[in-house]
Subunit: 373 residues, 2 copies
Amino acid sequence: MNNSQQLFTQITSEGVLELSLKTVDIPSPKPHEVIVKIEAAPINPSDMWPMFGPADLREAKHDSEAQTTTAPVHPSMLPRIKSRLDQTLPIGNEGAGTVVAAGESAAAQALIGKTVGVLSGATYAQYCCVPLQACIVHNEGTVAKDAASSFVNPLTALGMVETMRLEGHTALVHTAAASSLGTMLNKICIAENVPLVNIVRKQQQVDMLKKLGAKYVIDSSSDTYKADLYKAIEETGATLAFDAIGGGELASDILTAMEQVGSKDAKGFNTYGSLTNKQVYIYGGLDFSPTVLNRAFGMTWSVGGWLLMRFLAKLSPERVGQLHKKVADEIKTTFASEFTDELSFEQAITPALMMQYNAKKTGEKYLINPTKK
Amino acid sequence: MNNSQQLFTQITSEGVLELSLKTVDIPSPKPHEVIVKIEAAPINPSDMWPMFGPADLREAKHDSEAQTTTAPVHPSMLPRIKSRLDQTLPIGNEGAGTVVAAGESAAAQALIGKTVGVLSGATYAQYCCVPLQACIVHNEGTVAKDAASSFVNPLTALGMVETMRLEGHTALVHTAAASSLGTMLNKICIAENVPLVNIVRKQQQVDMLKKLGAKYVIDSSSDTYKADLYKAIEETGATLAFDAIGGGELASDILTAMEQVGSKDAKGFNTYGSLTNKQVYIYGGLDFSPTVLNRAFGMTWSVGGWLLMRFLAKLSPERVGQLHKKVADEIKTTFASEFTDELSFEQAITPALMMQYNAKKTGEKYLINPTKK
């Protein structure tokens, strides 16, 4: 075990994406680092932009001998990604596997043989070297596939509830709520009695979440969408929303409903609307189109970006440790993930399969399993 | 001095705006209140929505005998203003005059005979009863007309700089920067060495601000607007903007330039953009159209409403007192206001003049002087 196969991405200043499988040396772990043999690494939506950038995957070509896949990037897109041009970069935000080597600290040594979930930028590899704080140590009986999605979705869901409490809100609105993340958030909110308004786009997603025990599920394709949203926000008192969509009028609709609820008993001019802060955090961008805010929600509102890693950096190490332990203890229940298929490295860079997972269909998620041939 | 003439506004649920001059009793001041004889009350943009709502002023009719003016409000607009319907409401956010009576506290008694600026919701009146904390006490030699705009513009300009410091920014961007408020902000920033990027819409406004000593003035109608904005933000390091426009892509342009500056030396994916928070506060709505955010500015950004009164409520009374004193000391220099004309009550509700001041032209501002016949 001296070297490791690993996936890399590069976009050249000539406008060519190149995905490649390379053999790299495995570093010697520093005292507080471990070497994890990766057995399951999910392809999350947040992996796809680093992996592919704005390349046109319909034109992708695979060379199985060179173990590369190339695809064109339109020259007009290059200025937007200039920071990454002509660099061979690792990919894979998270994954799980077995600790096979460790640095000399007792804390690192104690992990040998254990299943860990890791957060890294390089999990699409046979072996990954990570510091202890980027590991969630799993309990006996948890295998890599269970633990593959230990970080991004579980900690995002927990981070939303944590943000709600830290910023003085008492209920939540969540969009694209039928996602894996949305499912986890429902389980957490049900267990902790946090009122949660789920916004989805299809009746079958309503049914799925209702079956899970969700009380408020709004279908944005319904004729009664805005009235339903008002009613749910009125009943829950939600003044905080997390939005995975980003584009269009959804954030504006949510703020407008919050303001209508907040001002329903107002008298007089009410020029500046309700006093309570009404907040929408955009944490994803499923719709690339601009965010359109009608501003019919007074003067006490905010829309902003929310990013898990930057949020976690504000928490104490103790609190982060507690959240990690909760993820480990509930990885097969609250934080259980389902995967559509497992892909070998070769499959992961096969154009037809790339198109399939890059479609980001609700309920579809793929794993890379480096041990699969 | 038992009663006072005062302007009121009402919009009925039948869709009629009625402005009326009424005679009301003057209350006895409580211990910490004073009675101010109003001699100058500005008609600020922030007074116009309470005063007129969405009425069609082109159809306004004045009845000089009844001392009323009426104008139609389109029925479709009524739900938006339901909190105010069928209520006769006072108007006038600020003004100045002489303290003619005071409650029994020593602090109140000490103001008798002094010129004060007041913040109230009822300054379009001969006499106005206000608590001490809603007064800025002016120095000898300051007359009511000097002090008419003691609150809204001066404290908003000071509040912007205060917000900048409290939230850890070191430079400012300001839009609609050729306004009275913008002029004050330039004077403050020049005196306190705060880098300020002014955004205006015309070359003559550039010239005006440059003459005042402004270093960075960007003309959004110029062909080089975006490049100029980038350069000014790069040189100043501004990560905070106050926007009076609200509608359109201006906030988005500012955030985009801030992100481009913040990421100019980035290497690698830079998927989530620069780490520094990039903030735009919308404090006005000169453009009623939606705010359109392209979100090409990473994940660490925020756009939100900013309201003077809600901001001041977060400051300590000591700090508010210091800001009041600064306004009094610099009311003829930093915070000097110019007025286009003084109107009597009768003139203020004359349709042709209403149309004129409601046009909110840059550099035009009107005073109501209740002592004028």
